[in-house]
Subunit: 402 residues, 2 copies
Amino acid sequence: MAAPGDDARLARLADIAVKVGANVQPGQLVVVLALVEAAPAARAVAASAYRAGARFVDVKYVDRHLTRALIELGPDDSLGWSAPWDMTLFETMAAEHAAYIQVAGEYDPNLLADLDGSKVGRARPRDVFGLWGRLVSERKVAWTMVPAPTPAWATEVFGRPDVDKLWTAIEKALRTDRPDPASAWRARLDRLEEIATELTARRFDAIRYRGPGTDLTVGLLPSGRWRSGKFETVFGQPHVPNLPTEEVFTSPDKNRAEGKVRSTRPLNLRGNIVRDLEFRTHDGRIVEVGATSGADVIRSQIAVDADAGRLGELALVDGSSEVGKLGLTFFETLFDENATCHIAYGDGFNFCVDDEADQRSGLSSSVEHTDFMVGGPEVDVDGRESSGSWVPILRGDEFQIA
Amino acid sequence: MAAPGDDARLARLADIAVKVGANVQPGQLVVVLALVEAAPAARAVAASAYRAGARFVDVKYVDRHLTRALIELGPDDSLGWSAPWDMTLFETMAAEHAAYIQVAGEYDPNLLADLDGSKVGRARPRDVFGLWGRLVSERKVAWTMVPAPTPAWATEVFGRPDVDKLWTAIEKALRTDRPDPASAWRARLDRLEEIATELTARRFDAIRYRGPGTDLTVGLLPSGRWRSGKFETVFGQPHVPNLPTEEVFTSPDKNRAEGKVRSTRPLNLRGNIVRDLEFRTHDGRIVEVGATSGADVIRSQIAVDADAGRLGELALVDGSSEVGKLGLTFFETLFDENATCHIAYGDGFNFCVDDEADQRSGLSSSVEHTDFMVGGPEVDVDGRESSGSWVPILRGDEFQIA
């Protein structure tokens, strides 16, 4: 149901995804992933990609109602099954140096809420996610993820299907409300890269989070590297994996996390809203999970493989984030993780760890990767230098370095 | 936009597709093909298939807007490209003895109407269609095709988006308005099989169509066989490829078609409406194409390969067809071809020709297969016996045999 003006907004959204996000090159194969409900955005992206010279654009439509049918009515053995054609899709993208544009936007965050949480946790194609994780780590695909508003998503954010209001928020976060969104992103990415470079140069041995319900210390690897959203594939194509992006991030030592952490925002985990999430970690591993809803989904998730319950990512976001300034909870990781600092359990990124020995011994490797939010003015973040002294990194939502 | 009562209708539609059409077996892999706009029907089919014991159900969503973007904005070389992941989909279906349920239902029959017709004709994945044609011929997949109403389709049929009225027509054609649709189909299929058996037994050497603008004689092959919609895969699974099905059909001798034929209904060819179609054939080949709209799409289609412009199918439908009784033009082959007699140019079916030598010398083999309608009370159909005498097969829309 398109409202007047939607076409222009969709075209701006599509252009920023194609030109800045995936940075589609002439002759390139482009695959778009979108919910069925986001077909208008997927079509706009396809048109923009062809205008940028794409050789062929396919859209893989995803339907969460099928996930529901599988969980509710299908055999348990099939929950983690990967269709061979989906494997071929990702293998071909890698072989052909493709661009991959994911259109994010939830259909109905409560769609899976009444189902068995342990089944919801296991209902994803494991081999496909494993392969995709490797392609990301090995920088084989020029990928990006952009949002698309849907009525159900607007209802979750605002309590009513005010898609126009959600569009306004998204345009602000995506900077597509500015005269030259591409150059606005260049400036922002340069600033984030500056902070990441400084954090890497400091060679902190550990990061500590302190706030209400939170006192967590996570070790870093000696050859760890902080990154911004400025990426480049192995075949030399610059791209920006997430739009919006407001974070700097690294992958920590999977064997060193100690203490407790309380998430500062609700989390939409495959159609299940997890509220008041708390973890206790010991020796790098999540040993206790608490939540007022959705805890069983997380418990089954972190049992999927050996590193699913270890930390794979630490990300820092300060108060200058355009997403954070909106003051909204989007129930959509792409937005909420760019509003404030976050941590992920599960898979780490080998492009965040330079040394192969460090990768082998200390980098988490899992088919899972889930971000949860721990940030805001009440959360202090410090880094421990090799001397043992602690240096403030974030205070009152402002970076204290760079 | 679901109206009250749609859920029950969708469930009945899905059940007839799953139980009679594909006849889904416990443990079977099921793939559903559907337009994005037909997602509610695809979801109902998925649920019904799981209830019948399917191991896994995937839906491949098709979006004609992407075809439009490819034609309008993409490179010419890509028009016939087949994505490797789609090849894997069909290869896997064959290897796993899968069921394949196509949900038909046009989005907007005029979507591609303003584009270059020769490009529209070439815009389809040739290798995928070639592979699919082989799987059909070799009976490797338990497949079926069922309709799903959409507002755009209702508009095309009734001049307004009266989906409820379209549902009523579809339910009548599908016999899902009856207390026991499955047994109604068993009876109808038995009757059609009886006619097919009799036609095969007569061993006609040729079939002649006579009517307004039509006088066409098409040769049959010595080992040709007439079929009804009762099919069985090579692995022994009975299925019904089309629902509704009201036809008996065979594949003719590709080298013997002589005369002219005028289509008695408009044809929706990949979003292009072809009106007032006329062909002249000589030595088995279409040598002239006329139409008041869409002729260029057909001309580019029949030039695709050597047999694209030869006849691949002759099908007979009498006035007892529930589709024919509705007296509507659906602009959707699945319905219109079951309303009245039809002929297809392009690929033939090797399961309609018993002898391999006949298959090699006389059976059309093409990536194309397009049905057009030539029937009704004004079209007489006769068969020539080996003695040379002509026997009436259809008069005034009634079978004169069996």
